[in-house]
């Protein structure tokens, strides 16, 4: 990445479009503080990212990446409860979260027996529980049906209304234009039209 400068304001959703291999996933994972920069600085949620601030900063970040994070041998409700416990969220809210994403009747199904779209919905349910201030979506809507994409849109809207920010990465520019307040292009390690 070369001379990348990106600012996401509270309540804003910034789309990043780019071809395969342009560094979109690296950008998202850097913003999530999962990848460290060897030059420059990263400020997330008002905090300059250094080792001491990592845990509290990370807990305010929500990420949906390429591959689902569910444990295949656990049921959907067990997966969500596990994540809720680690996040310090009351697990009594889990059934409600599954209901809102439309998976209450499939909650006892093992993740390995569920479709990609169902697993995505569970990840969305997790973010509805944890209410992140910074939402990062890496090709999150790819391969999803219309109702699941509507859920992503509802999630982005919810984060923005709470004053949080979103970075949405996709190779589908049309999808980004619908979802985001502005769209930047990433190519050859450079980002254009970002403030």
């Amino acid at each position: 990445m070369r001379g990348l400068e990106l600012v996401v304001e509270p309540g804003e959703a910034v789309g990043i479009a780019g071809p395969n291999g342009s560094g979109k996933t690296t950008l998202i994972r850097t913003a999530a503080t999962l990848v460290s920069t060897n030059r420059g600085s990263l400020e997330v949620l008002g905090q300059i990212v250094g080792k001491r601030d990592l845990v509290s900063t990370r807990r305010a970040i929500g990420l949906i990446g390429h591959q689902p994070t569910l444990i295949p041998e656990l049921t959907l409700v067990e997966n969500l409860s596990h994540v809720a416990r680690l996040a310090g969220v009351d697990i009594a809210r889990v059934p409600r979260a599954l209901e809102v994403v439309g998976l209450d009747e499939a909650s006892d199904r093992r993740a390995e027996a569920c479709s990609f779209g169902m697993k995505r919905r569970v990840e969305i349910a997790h973010l509805l529980l944890t209410r992140p201030q910074l939402l990062l979506l890496d090709e999150a809507a790819s391969g999803l049906d219309e109702s699941a994409r509507d859920l992503i849109e509802a999630l982005v809207g919810s984060v923005r209304r709470r004053g949080g920010g979103c970075i949405v990465v996709s190779h589908d520019r049309a999808q980004l234009t619908e979802l985001c307040s502005r769209v930047a292009s990433l190519a050859d390690g450079r980002l254009d039209t970002a403030r």
Partner: protein
């Protein structure tokens, strides 16, 4: 969530997954017992040897098959799951301790059953006072092997040849465990002290535990 609660939660889920996959009980354990049966056949049934080699065969097979328990599928995290755990604020050291707890339970059970099978099949020559020493050594080896396997699994995380590569890393590093375990029982028949060998096992376990906790964070960053 506190450090220990994180560790316990990870251990709980790990054991639940392993119970559902069942590789340790259904595959690794029967395989280890079949391997026990191979030795006397390979020795051309020189049965006078069988009783004398029984304990040694147990340690050798315990280490080799125990590595497969330590590197089991349920103890593997994908990159995405590790990212999720990082964002949830899971301390990498807590993950190590959690895996140690669940792996320790599985490994202890595994080694004890293989020990029992060895006793039945080999009728080993155990010196006076040897059974408590053998049992204690088995637990200490179980802990050490779990620590080694967990560390090696982290180092080789995400690699396609993870299991084989991790086994290669664990095998030589397990030598202090084998030496401490075999010499502790051997010391009884030689009428020398067992304490240095038990201390070697305890020291190895402690050193590996400290290494696992101290290196957890750098290992996590190295595997991203």
């Amino acid at each position: 969530m506190s450090f220990w609660n994180q560790a316990l939660e990870i251990a709980r889920v790990d054991l639940t997954v392993e119970r559902r996959i069942g590789n340790t009980l259904r595959i690794t354990l029967p395989f280890a017992v079949v391997a026990l049966m191979v030795f006397p056949l390979a020795l051309d049934l020189r049965l006078a040897l069988v009783s004398t080699i029984g304990i040694g065969v147990f340690w050798a097979l315990g280490i080799l098959f125990g590595m497969q328990v330590a590197l089991r599928q349920s103890a593997t995290d994908t990159r995405e799951r590790r990212d999720l755990q990082a964002l949830l604020g899971v301390d990498p050291a807590a993950r190590f301790v959690g895996r140690l707890l669940s792996g320790g339970v599985l490994m202890s059970g595994f080694l004890l059953i293989v020990l029992l099978a060895m006793v039945v099949l080999f009728d080993p020559d155990v010196p006076n006072g040897g059974w408590p020493v053998l049992t204690m050594s088995t637990f200490l080896v179980a802990i050490g092997l779990t620590e080694l396997g967990t560390l090696a699994g982290e180092v080789t995380s995400g690699l396609s040849n993870r299991t084989v590569l991790a086994s290669l890393i664990v095998a030589p590093l397990a030598l202090p465990l084998i030496i401490g375990a075999s010499q502790s029982v051997g010391a009884l028949s030689r009428d020398t002290g067992i304490l240095p060998w038990i201390l070697l096992l305890i020291a190895s376990d402690l050193a590996l535990a400290v290494a696992g906790v101290a290196l957890a964070q750098p290992l996590e960053e190295a595997t991203r």
